[in-house]
Amino acid sequence: MFSFILRRILISIPVALGVSTLCFMLIHFVPGDPVDIILGESANVIEKSALRSELGLDQPMLTQYGNFISGLLQGDLGRSIQSRRPVFEEIAERIPATLELTLGAMCLAVLIGIPLGIFAALKQYSGTDNVVMVFGLLGMSMPGFWLGPMLILIFSIQLDWFPVSERGGLEHLVLPAFSLAIALSAIIMRMTRTSMLEVIKEDYIRTAKSKGLAGGKIYFKHALRNALMPIITIIGLQFGALLTGTVITETIFDWPGIGTLFFSAIQERNYPLVQACILTVSLTYVAVNLLVDIAYAAVNPQVRLK
């Protein structure tokens, strides 16, 4: 197990380095001079050269790259152009809000997806199964930036059940979390159904049935436990999609998380902040994938022996 974890961490290092390099390159993809774009062509030469040296753009490319990586390792990626504060400080402030939203969405998706998936599998090819499956496809086809406003329209404006926007108590979390969760819950539902269908054909389920065990005990104790593995994997892997989805959901619901910070940084051409946001999300994504793999190996010895 230890050697598996070590090997898996070693594989992640080049990936993390590659991700960081891509983020570093971003500012160099800007057509024209980034300083001109940030300050406008009319800014005076002194201001321009001050910003250029602050961003390190006056140094050779390799030096810039070296500084970027060493800065990253020390948790210092420069200052935000607008607020003059260290970018990581701004990001750290926003993490709790984004975490709350993503975890809320994750819980909702699991609570909706797994029971529906089990239900569909137990009634395979029935009318109910077909309805659940079509709803699943519908859920996957619904973009968050449409579902969000529709939820606001129905539940905030028409019914007045939930507040329209901003962060607050639990009632503020419901709509944004739901609009973020719907696609994931459809994916979880489909995975649960497939996985349950495979497991309930196994011999030990037939044995349990022939022993005369009650249905609930068979399906929840014997089947679901064994069917959970691929479901957990897909939940872990979809965490990245959730994090990315927050950019849209947070914008719609005025949620004060990394998504809105990232979006406003893009609009203000605040490149250091843009880089830091992408880096934070991507490295979290890499780390989550790493954890999922390790967790997977911990519960399934077949994986680590491969």
């Binding site: 619904m142 999609a241 950019v247």
Partner: protein
Amino acid sequence: MKKSLSKNFLFVAGLSIISFMLIMAIFAPILSPFSPYDIQLENRFLSPNAINWFGTDENGSDIFSKVLFGARISLMVALCVVGINCFVGLVIGSIAGYYGKWVDSLIMRIIDMLQAFPGFLLALSMVAVLGPSIRNLILAMCISGWTAFARLVRGEVLHLKHKEYVQAAVALGAKTPRVVLLHVWPNLTGPLIVQASFAMAGTIIAESSLSFLGLGAPPTEPTWGSLLNMGRKVLIDAPHISIFPGLCIVLLVLGFNFLGDGVRDYLDPKKH
């Protein structure tokens, strides 16, 4: 016995939806009652009525016409992106799968790295940096989009190259391009259609998300995403601006998801 594809509900439903939308998009200039660029400030924010089926927007433009023209942009961008990704993935995946050894390892590491990046975020940052335009939008969605195709093709090629008919072609002295082109690629059609179908669905959502954020096509172009962006600001007074373009996105994406699921069921030997 394999049930014919034409009896598969998902496939037929998906194909019907897509064909319908495609016809609407192709004949948009004929079908649309107004020009999507028309500005009639006296007709701002009209609710759906007999003349403006889907109502009008903040400039008094007809939303039905805009939605028709929006279908053109969405479908065109998605077809370009998926076409490019499919082709690049096919070539790179075949090279990795067919040659194996260090070529395969190298290609797979590059794919791993690109897939470590959440795809939408990468596209978002690229467009943000390059500036919003349809060309940059397509470019941004191609950077990591091909990797899913390449991974699929590589897996299939690894499996196919040991088949007797491929070995036979090699034994008969066929050159590698001939073997790959005539004996391997035709067998990839099925899985590629499934993958392309889901990729179309994903690309349409990604494209309209970017347009929604103002990072897609220029705001003067009538796109579904930009209509939704406009609609969000007047959600209470003019909900129709948000409702109809959104329904079109859902319908088209659903069509491609249906199609992909249908073909996958058809190709799955366990289902028969």
